[in-house]
Symmetry: C2
Subunit: 263 residues, 2 copies
């Protein structure tokens, strides 16, 4: 059973690699079925799609991780029940802008202060850089609703070392999201964000910006954005007026498997 990719290869020069073919085919398959319906057995499905079972299973796994299918050992594979979680939660990093657009909320950037300065000690710590490293700080209020009655919903501050972002990189098209800018530029390659979740009372300054009283409740998300090389690219503080955005997270039940040693 010597494998000869070139002789077995079903792709023409222009067609997609097996992985994406299978991905698309499986997606189509799912769209045509009702939740709870059973999918064909893996060997059969693999044959239908013209790939090996291993390749099919790779795609199956990704679908399972996203909660689109349920696989039951010894029973079969099924279209997942109507997802208990409709929108994605916090586990996928996306900008507030993107989130708002996705959920139909209309937002625009309000008052903004953009400046290059030295990092404060706390910022330097969070960014894991030397004290007084030059950074670009972008502070702005996000508003929602029509202009006369627009309401402030969040106060956002991003702090980025100027090595990653300069004031002039924020074109006139900048509408509030530093994250989207990084994603669009594709540089540096981003890995993940560590987001701390806090509740706090608004101080005088923040209350003013958000049209609240001092002491009113805010949800505060403090995030460090990591590049693939492990460097912190962005330290952001987001303060939300309760009621406009809704955050949640899906938590896996921990496997009581063997734990890794210390590290």
């Amino acid at each position: 059973m010597t494998t000869s990719r070139s002789s077995t290869d079903k792709r023409s020069a222009t067609s997609l690699p097996p992985r994406e073919q299978v991905h698309a085919a499986l997606a189509t398959l799912l769209n045509g079925r009702q939740p709870g319906e059973q999918l064909p057995p893996e060997p059969q499905l693999a044959h239908q799609l013209g790939v090996s079972r291993a390749t099919l299973r790779e795609t199956m796994r990704s679908f399972q991780e996203r909660g689109l299918i349920v696989r039951r050992h010894g029973v079969g594979t099924f279209v997942a029940p109507p997802p208990p979680v409709i929108e994605t939660g916090l586990e996928e990093l996306e900008s507030l802008d993107t989130l708002a657009r996705r959920t139909g909320l209309q937002t625009r950037m309000g008052e903004a202060v953009i400046e290059e300065r030295e990092a404060t000690p706390n910022e330097a710590f969070r960014l894991q850089v030397s004290p007084r490293t030059p950074v670009l700080a972008v502070a702005r209020v996000m508003m929602t609703g029509a202009l006369p009655g627009a309401m402030p919903v969040a106060f956002l501050v991003d702090v980025v070392p100027t090595a990653y972002l300069r004031q002039q990189d924020l074109g006139p098209g900048f509408c509030g999201s530093v994250l989207d800018l990084f994603i669009q530029r594709e540089h540096p390659p981003l890995s993940h964000s560590r987001t701390d979740i806090l509740a706090e009372a608004a101080d005088e300054a923040t209350a003013g910006k958000l049209h609240l009283q001092r002491g009113d409740v805010l949800l505060r998300l403090e995030a460090q954005l990591y590049a693939c090389d492990g460097h912190v690219v962005d330290y952001s503080i987001s303060q939300f007026v309760p009621g406009h955005f809704h955050f949640h997270v899906v938590r896996r039940v921990g496997n009581p498997k063997v734990r890794l040693p210390g590290r």
Copy 2:
């Protein structure tokens, strides 16, 4: 290359399956190396461990997902840099009790009210059961510190249909965690929890229980615990006094890959 598992099988009757052998071996390997160090190439490593490369890669993937190694296409596999995230975040579901123990915080259960009653309309909605379904409600204050000066840190309420949990199931050993009880019983099999994240001002009753003033800030986590069959097993509300517990979440940067069709 006909595969004959029985003839190739290197396991004696008592040894572990390849997956776990590899898992252990890889863990050992990592523990003996410094962050940034390169691991042997996959084919060589697979041969050393006496497994196929596919099997090794399966383990590698799981290590990578946990952030223990970094794989770079065309370059090599490396011990991950000092993990930016030390403890796990919210993405793994664990009881407050377990979390406290893990982080060295000493907690004990304070005043508790345990009763069987009918679900309120909101509870029925969250539990996805008919209105007035009988439920077990467990409300208690969690305290920290030595007895004379013990401070309340959280107010927890779990609401569980009596089909899953009865008052008599909470033995005298019950010390505050309904989740741990479910995990220990292994029934029903749990899948995940959807946890909403909110900031709110303490109302009169809660403030009293937590020794706060009305209007003080609380972090509120509202969770629905799902069994593998999709049913909601537990609806819980956790209100935290800021400063004692620290919650965070790791957010993946979204893949700009092909999105699935609507669903």
